[in-house]
Symmetry: C3
């Protein structure tokens, strides 16, 4: 019985392993239950009523309360990590994210990604990979989709540079491309139960909102959250992976924290239906106190009864003043963690 070292461990894909048109079927489908919802509310100060109460959801025309839209995003995203970002140097951006169907308890999600662009960097050591990822339920329906691009290292520096393909991506999803859940109806919306009296009509383009509250980040919490989405990238968990002994926090943790904090001032921005773009401006680490502010970027009517669309910038910061974003050099200020651009649905 001789001992042999196995080569079965996944070492991830490198830049030269991606070709435009490849479809990656990501592993480990996930059935969701009330447990995911309870944990989401335990990890983030999430209080949007549609995701908290079956009764509120039914009054809004849905069969019951769906899984938080960002929880659905995290589940779909988490599955892509072993195939897309294990050897990523940086998560560069998001675009064309759309939520197409609510996710309910008992649904099983899987993910798949199509490589839609590649561009080798001029240094020859890495390149940018663009993927369009879809989350698919047990009925083979797409529940959400988004484009993400990452910088990935090459393993074989001699591998030839692929033909550059940069996908044409919309800077902003046109409102007519947003998908409103079937049956959604805010005409009988209960503002008292939702927590704030502000209608869609009360928000003005250009208006900025300081969400006031702050949450100090703990190692145990971001790790519990990140694992819940089965995102097991070692940088988030292994304190020995970085020279200073800190763990790099999953960017999605900051997205969910900021969105939850935005309840205070945007309690009626109930459903996220579009992700126009987003930048993880600076890394987040344990001990930081995260705050958030928003800016109304646009507004649009929809065909659903009582439902308006609002386009919001959501900024998470630790140390940067509210309503500050970039320095004179055009770069994000050191205290800015997240700059997200999304569409939400509100009662008119």
């Amino acid at each position: 019985m001789s001992k042999t070292r196995s080569a079965k461990t996944n070492s991830g894909r490198f830049f030269e392993d991606y070709a435009v048109g490849d479809v990656l079927r990501h592993a480990v489908p996930r059935t969701v239950s009330g447990g995911e919802r309870a944990l989401y509310h335990a990890l983030y100060p999430a209080r949007h009523a549609l995701y908290s109460s079956d009764e509120f959801a039914r009054r809004s025309g849905l069969p019951k309360s769906p899984l938080d839209d960002l929880a659905a995003f995290h589940i779909v995203f988490g599955k892509t990590v072993p195939d897309v970002s294990l050897n990523a140097v940086a998560n560069l951006g998001y675009a064309e994210g759309r939520w197409l169907l609510p996710v309910y308890e008992g649904d099983t999600l899987r993910s798949e990604s199509e490589v839609i662009g590649v561009k080798q960097n001029s240094n020859g050591k890495s390149g940018v990979v663009y993927v369009r990822t879809r989350g698919v339920n047990q009925r083979e329906e797409t529940v959400m989709e988004y484009v993400r691009w990452v910088m990935v290292r090459k393993k074989d520096l001699e591998a030839p540079a692929p033909e550059t393909v940069i996908p044409a991506l919309k800077k902003v999803i046109p409102v007519e491309d947003l998908v409103i859940p079937e049956g959604l109806d805010f005409s009988g919306y209960d503002f008292d139960q939702a927590g704030e009296p502000h209608h869609w009509g009360d928000y003005a383009v250009g208006e900025t909102i300081d969400h006031v509250d702050g949450v100090t980040i703990e190692e145990a919490e971001h790790m519990i959250a990140t694992r819940l989405w089965q995102n097991t990238a070692k940088v988030h968990f292994d304190a020995t992976a970085r020279p200073d002994g800190s763990r790099l926090i999953y960017g999605g943790h900051v997205i969910s924290m900021a969105r939850a904090l935005s309840f205070n001032g945007l309690a009626n921005a109930q459903m996220i239906v579009g992700l126009n773009g987003g930048a993880h401006a600076n890394p987040c680490a344990s001990g930081m106190t995260v705050r958030a502010w928003s800016e109304v970027l646009d507004k649009a009517e929809t065909s659903a009864p009582g439902v308006g669309a609002i386009r919001l910038r959501l900024v998470a910061a630790s140390g940067a003043e509210p309503f500050t974003l970039k320095g004179e050099d055009g770069k994000y200020l050191p205290g800015v963690l997240l700059d997200l651009d999304y569409w939400a649905l509100m009662p008119v």
Copy 2:
């Protein structure tokens, strides 16, 4: 597109904003699932069998295992925070708390509070507000109620003092006012499965019980717990809110911790049905090791088969010796965190 600062953030109510007779419908209803139960057991060393096992609950005459009575309390309480205690200087007391109906998976809870008393302090800068809060389920049934009074700051120091109204509150809920869940029957109680052999008849008024075990408090745990109840008061989460960088722990976290620790010696004090009073004697902070002791204050028979009522003092402490409570000056000792007075149901 000019930028405007929003005034939509909730800054909470101040003393002058409360008038006797006001009814506050608190926001964000909540549907509970198995997730809340699992988290409650993960956050506290809770082992009372009725809240752990559907089989044990059925043998006790209930349709299935209800949500822990304190978890129901926390959910109801959490909703009141934005309307009652956002600007509170201190949580002064509880009275007349009664659990009226068990809460089961799938139930949706909301809360409402009636202002039943106001009294401006002599300094003119703050006042005491008394509210009677009710937790209501999706069938508009009241599942629990309690009175709570808090000291709240005035914003407008010029606002006239309201007429003082101090509600007449019972020091102890009479046993005939306690509501025993329909069908509850301990005549076939399984003491082995419950964990201890001690009957209601084995406890004597005046008996004191040291619950022995201790739990050291972690920041991540109290924040997860507090958020689970959608209590998002910033003092619990924001390490920059206090000069020493510590977070003030939600008093309910200490209540649940002490109650769970009391299993060791009071495993058969299954259901909490009455809250006579309670004081958060000193603040709790991360790093403290919480212990608990109890004293039997009273006993009473009930009309339900095999069910006795027991009135207990539950004390949580960190540093104070068991069975010590107040100093010669009549003030709580520095190591005492909680002094709670409640009614529970036990097998006779």
Copy 3:
């Protein structure tokens, strides 16, 4: 009303309290829900598809996704602590562990243990107790069983030594004694969705696998996990119980962490069906970064369609190099935390 000190607190059993043939019915039955599954995935980087997806489980011939086999073990184990190991000096070993029936949401588990061996130590101050523990569901079916032996202190040093009984225990469970869940069928196994392409046939006896990833241990996480299994032994929770202020981490936390890490290289070792033995080689403490490696010890065919059995050594380490285990003195290296020997089921 005179105050009396109660003697109702459980002080646990001492060595002289165990006699061969005793059957201990452990307290606090537990109904499991989706909450336990979600928490298990939040606490460990668990990604085996059978325990994550109802769809994957159905394709494998099961009615739905069962509770993770180790979660079932922890629930069964946790109940034994107050009766078996409250006064234990050391957890010495496991043997003859078998999973007999999957556990599903809604099942209620209880545990019972039979004392099958006792041996007083030569120092007269302690002894070894062997118990065979069974986890039983609400239909009185045994869902799992295992033998465990612990060293327990004597309280009464004058108590006579019992007749020594050392049970004959199998070093390895013969493959024909393993119980394969009814209906399990891996003939249509989806390797893409499971996460790795490696078949049972691809593993060779003697092969070693470095699972690469590491997870740094947090106090909040191991306490949440341990409480979830209602294992409330104070050493895991009370920082004042040990001179250095650290908490002793429940050995099962390390088992689950290592098993979850082993996904990377053993994603298709889906179900654990046998526990041949295990040693908690060194204690684990907060701040350690746990890594894992495996060695293929044996392989065997089974009668179920497409299902092979694989016997694995699973080693968890913090600081010890992969594939190192014991020093020249035959003792475990200081950085080795766990040495586990188990049978799992894989697609052939």
